[in-house]
C-alpha cells in the first residue's frame, strides 16, 4: 500500500511538490498556515524573464491542487508536532477555526460585502483594506471566507453578527473550535518559504518614515491589476504618477551586520519592476542602483540587456548611502557614489523601491539543523540538494536557500520523487 506524504507550505514549491506526488497516486496532506494557498507568487504581477502573468501560471495549479483526489488541503492550519522517523512520521496538525463551515460556504462573498469592520489588507501589504471576514485574495483556494478574530466586532465587542444574518447557506459558525488532526506520513516536504526582512533596519533609507519609499513586494502589488490601485502606479504621498523611480538593490541583504546572504531573485525582480513601470508609464525615468547585477539564469542576461536597450533603464553601480526627503514635495534625494566614475552624487526621484532581502521561515515542530547562513542545512548541496539533516524530511524553495520560481519548482519535483520512494510508489 502506498503511504502518505506531508507537504508544509502552500506556495509555488509546495503546490508543485504536492501535484507531482499526487499524480503518482500518493496521498498528500498540504498544510498552509494562511487561509489560502498561493504563497508569495500569488502576490506577483508578472514573472521574469518572460514577463508572463504570474496568476495565469499559478491559479490553474492552485485549482488543480484543490480538485485533485489525492490531495487533502489543510489551509489555515499549522504543524504543531512531529514524531517518528522516515517512513513512519506521526504528525499533529492544528486546524485554526475560520468560524465558517467550509462544507457549507459557497464563496459568494455576501458576508464580506455586509461586514462593517475594515482592516489593513496584508495581501496588499497594508496598502488597501479588507473586511474582518475575508478571502485572502479574489482567486483564493479554497474560496472559503475566514473571520479574522482580532478585528471581528462579535469577538471584540460582542455585537454585530451581520455576516451570520446574510449568509445564504448558514455557514457562519462562531462556536467553531481549533481542531487537532493526527496524520501518519512516510515523508515530509518543507516548503515554508520566506518573509521579507524589515527594511526599517536599514535606517538611512527611511522606510516607514518617507511615504514614497516602497518595498519590492509593495511595488509588485502596486503594478498588479489586482492590487490596491488596480495597477496604477501612484505615490503614497499625493496619488500622482511618479516621473522617476529609483530601485535600490541589496537592502537588508549582502550586509554582514544585517543579513550577509544574497537574496538571489531581487536583481531580476527589480529589472522586471523597472520594465513594468516603463510599460505602465512610458515617460517614467527608471534607475537601478546595484552592486553586482546577478543575471545568472537562463534568459536573464538577455532580460537585463533588453531593460537597458529596449526600455532605456539606467543602471548605476553604487550602494546608496542614504535617502532624504524633500518635506515640501515628498520627493526623495538619494546620495551615492557612482563607483564607475568615483564621483559622489545625489539623485532626486519621485519614488524609491527597495529590493528587500529575505529571511527563511521554517516549521518549529521539526528539530532541523540550520546552517550558519540561517537556512535549513542541506545534507549535501551537490548530490542531495533537497535532503535535510532528518531522514525522510526534505526542504524545497526559499526555506532551503534564496532562489527564484524556476529553481523552487525544480527542487519541488526533486523532493517529490524522493518522498514518493519512501511512500512506496
Amino acid at each position: 500500500m502506498v503511504k502518505s506524504v506531508l507537504v508544509i507550505g502552500g506556495g509555488i514549491a509546495g503546490i508543485q511538490a504536492s501535484l507531482d506526488l499526487a499524480d503518482q497516486e500518493v496521498k498528500v496532506y498540504l498544510v498552509e498556515k494562511l487561509p489560502s494557498i498561493g504563497g508569495k507568487m500569488a502576490r506577483l504581477d508578472k514573472t521574469f524573464p518572460t514577463l508572463d502573468c504570474a496568476s495565469c501560471i499559478l491559479t490553474p495549479k492552485m485549482v488543480s491542487v484543490a480538485r485533485h483526489p489525492n490531495i487533502e488541503l489543510l489551509t489555515y492550519s499549522e504543524v504543531v508536532e512531529v514524531k517518528g522517523s522516515a517512513g513512519d512520521f506521526h504528525v499533529k496538525v492544528l486546524k485554526k477555526p475560520r468560524y465558517v463551515d467550509e462544507d457549507k460556504c459557497i464563496g459568494c462573498g455576501e458576508c464580506i460585502t455586509k461586514c462593517p469592520s475594515k482592516v489593513p489588507d496584508e495581501f496588499n501589504m497594508g496598502m488597501s483594506q479588507r473586511k474582518a471576514i475575508y478571502f485572502l485574495f479574489p482567486q483564493a483556494v479554497p474560496l472559503k471566507a475566514t473571520i479574522d478574530r482580532e478585528h471581528c466586532l462579535y469577538f471584540t465587542k460582542n455585537i454585530c453578527r451581520v455576516c451570520e444574518r446574510f449568509c445564504p447557506t448558514k455557514a457562519i459558525n462562531f462556536e467553531q473550535k481549533p481542531e487537532t488532526l493526527e496524520l501518519n506520513v512516510a515523508s515530509i516536504i518543507i516548503a515554508t518559504g520566506y518573509e521579507l526582512m524589515d527594511p526599517s533596519i536599514a535606517i538611512t533609507y527611511g522606510y516607514g518614515k518617507y511615504p514614497n519609499v516602497y518595498t519590492s513586494l509593495e511595488f509588485e502589488r502596486l503594478v498588479s491589476s489586482t492590487g490596491p490601485t488596480g495597477g496604477e502606479i501612484v505615490r503614497r504621498s499625493d496619488n500622482k504618477h511618479p516621473r522617476s523611480i529609483a530601485f535600490i538593490q541589496c537592502v537588508c541583504s549582502r550586509d554582514v551586520k544585517i543579513n550577509p546572504n544574497c537574496s538571489a531573485f531581487c536583481c531580476m525582480a527589480s529589472v522586471k519592476h523597472a520594465i513594468l513601470a516603463k510599460e505602465h508609464l512610458p515617460e517614467v525615468d527608471c534607475t537601478i542602483f546595484y552592486m553586482d547585477l546577478r543575471a545568472f539564469g537562463k534568459g536573464y542576461q538577455e532580460f537585463y540587456n533588453r531593460a537597458m536597450k529596449e526600455f532605456g533603464i539606467k543602471f548605476i553601480r553604487a550602494k546608496p548611502a542614504k535617502i532624504e526627503e524633500d518635506p515640501g514635495t515628498k520627493d526623495l534625494i538619494i546620495t551615492y557614489e557612482d563607483t564607475f566614475t568615483g564621483v559622489k552624487k545625489t539623485l532626486r526621484t519621485d519614488m524609491v523601491v527597495l529590493a528587500v532581502g529575505v529571511k527563511p521561515v521554517y516549521p518549529e515542530a521539526l528539530p532541523l539543523t540550520v546552517g550558519e547562513d540561517g537556512y535549513i542545512r542541506l545534507k549535501s548541496p551537490h548530490i542531495e540538494p533537497v535532503a535535510t539533516s532528518i531522514d525522510g524530511v526534505y526542504v524545497v524553495g526559499v526555506a532551503a536557500g534564496a532562489k527564484d520560481i524556476p529553481d523552487s519548482v525544480i527542487q519541488a519535483g526533486s523532493a517529490a520523487i524522493k518522498a514518493s520512494i519512501l511512500a512506496g510508489v
Binding site: 552592486m291 546608496p320 557614489e337 563607483t339 568615483g342 564621483v343
Partner: protein, 384 residues
C-alpha cells in the same frame, strides 16, 4: 587630456605587498571591501573631486602604492566613523584612512620610522628620555635652594633658554622639511595641466592660507561638521590647551629671562585654564580609546597611545609642579620640574615625526584641497 590619463596608468606600479603594509598599520579588515561606495556616499566631508575612502581602498587593494601615497585625501578625513558604522562588509574604512595617515607620516619623513616601527620606537623613546634626563643631570645647578622654591637654582635659566632655543629651531626646520616632502608627494598626484591652472590664482592661495588657519586650525570647523559635539570640544580643548600652555610658558620665560614688565598673574591664569583644558582633552581621548565604543576608538596603535600619554603627562606634571611651587615645597618641585622637562622634551622633539605631526600635515592638505576645489569651481564657472 586623454593621453595624460593613459600615461599615468602606464606609469602606475603595482606592489602586491602594499596591502599588507597597510594592514599592519591597523586596518586589518579593509581587504573585505566589495567596492560599493557606501562609505564615500555617507561621508559628511568627501567632495566632488576629493572622493574617499572607497577610491583609496580600491587603489590599496590593487597595490597602487603611488596613487595612495600621492593623495592628500587621508588628511581630509577626521575619522567620524560613519563609513565604518554603515559598511556592509564591515571592512572598517575609517580605520583604513587612519592607517593611511600612519603610513603617510612615515612616507613624508623617513625619520618617522623610528617612532612607528614598534621595536625602533621603544629604543627611540628610551634614548630620547635618557638624553633628556642625563642632560638635566649634568647641567643641573649644584647648589639648589632647599629653603625656598627657586626652580632655576636647580636647572639654570640660561641652560633652559639655550637648549630650548636649539630644540625649537630643530623642530621648526624638521617640520618645514617634512611639509616640503609632503608637498612633493602630493604634487606627484596632480596632473601637470592642473598645476598650470592652479598657479594662475596666487591671490586665492594667499586668501585660503589664512582661511585655513582661522577656520580649520583655530576653529576646527570641519571637525565640528563631522563629529559629535563632545569629541569636537575635547579636541578643541586639547589643541587650545596645548597652545595656551605653550604661550603661558613663553610669557613666563620672557618675564624671568628677558625681564618683560608684565604681571605674572596673566600667564598664570592662561596656563591654569589651558592646563585644565589639556587634561580634559587628553583624558577624554584616553578614556574613549579604553572604552572602544565608537569606530575611531576601537583600534589604537602604539603611536596613538604614546601621543596621548605624553600629552596627559605634560599636563599632570605641569599641574603638580605649579602646586609644589605655590606650596613652597623645594625638593618635590625640583623633581617634578625635571620630570616635566623630560616629558615636554620627548613630546616636542618627536613632534614632526609622530602622530603629533598631523598638526602640520592636515592644515597643509586642507589648504591645498580647499583652494583647488575653489579654483576648479571657478574654472567650471567661466567655462574653461
Amino acid at each position: 587630456m586623454g593621453s595624460q590619463i593613459s600615461t599615468t596608468i602606464l606609469e602606475a606600479r603595482l606592489r602586491p605587498e602594499f596591502p599588507k603594509t597597510i594592514m599592519k598599520l591597523g586596518a586589518e579588515k579593509f581587504y573585505r571591501c566589495f567596492n560599493c561606495g557606501n562609505c564615500t556616499a555617507i561621508c559628511p566631508l568627501t567632495q566632488d573631486r576629493a572622493s574617499y575612502p572607497r577610491k583609496l581602498i580600491r587603489y590599496a587593494v590593487m597595490g597602487l602604492e603611488d596613487r595612495v601615497t600621492s593623495s592628500a585625501d587621508p588628511w581630509l578625513c577626521y575619522y567620524c566613523g560613519e563609513c565604518s558604522d554603515y559598511c556592509p562588509r564591515d571592512a572598517d574604512p575609517g580605520s583604513f584612512m587612519m592607517a593611511l595617515r600612519r603610513l603617510l607620516i612615515q612616507k613624508y619623513s623617513i625619520a618617522s620610522k623610528f617612532f612607528f616601527n614598534k621595536i625602533a620606537a621603544s629604543i627611540t623613546w628610551t634614548v630620547l628620555t635618557l638624553i633628556a634626563a642625563l642632560g638635566l643631570y649634568f647641567f643641573r645647578g649644584h647648589s639648589p635652594n632647599l629653603e625656598a622654591v627657586d626652580i632655576f637654582s636647580f636647572i639654570p635659566l640660561s641652560f633652559i633658554h639655550d637648549v630650548g632655543l636649539a630644540i625649537g629651531i630643530i623642530i621648526g626646520l624638521s617640520a618645514l622639511l617634512n611639509l616640503i616632502s609632503m608637498y612633493r608627494s602630493i604634487a606627484k598626484g596632480i596632473p601637470h595641466s592642473y598645476s598650470k591652472i592652479e598657479s594662475r590664482y596666487p591671490g586665492l592661495w594667499v586668501k585660503n592660507f589664512f582661511k585655513t588657519i582661522i577656520y580649520e586650525v583655530a576653529a576646527q570647523l570641519k571637525y565640528n561638521k563631522c563629529l559629535k559635539r563632545s569629541r569636537y570640544i575635547a579636541h578643541l580643548a586639547l589643541l587650545w590647551g596645548f597652545l595656551g600652555l605653550f604661550i603661558a610658558t613663553l610669557v613666563i620665560f620672557g618675564i624671568d629671562f628677558y625681564g618683560l614688565q608684565i604681571s605674572k598673574v596673566i600667564p598664570f591664569i592662561i596656563g591654569s585654564v589651558s592646563g585644565v583644558a589639556m587634561l580634559y582633552g587628553s583624558l577624554y581621548f584616553i578614556i574613549s580609546r579604553l572604552k572602544k565604543k565608537e569606530a575611531y576608538s576601537m583600534y589604537s596603535y602604539h603611536t596613538d597611545w604614546i601621543f596621548l600619554i605624553l600629552l596627559l603627562l605634560a599636563g599632570v606634571t605641569g599641574f603638580l609642579l605649579t602646586i609644589f611651587i605655590k606650596t613652597n615645597m623645594p625638593m618635590p618641585s625640583y623633581i617634578m620640574f625635571a620630570v616635566h622637562l623630560v616629558v615636554v622634551f620627548d613630546l616636542l622633539i618627536s613632534a614632526p615625526y609622530t602622530k603629533f605631526a598631523h598638526a602640520i600635515y592636515r592644515p597643509l592638505a586642507l589648504w591645498i584641497n580647499n583652494t583647488r576645489e575653489e579654483i576648479l569651481g571657478y574654472e567650471k564657472h567661466i567655462g574653461r
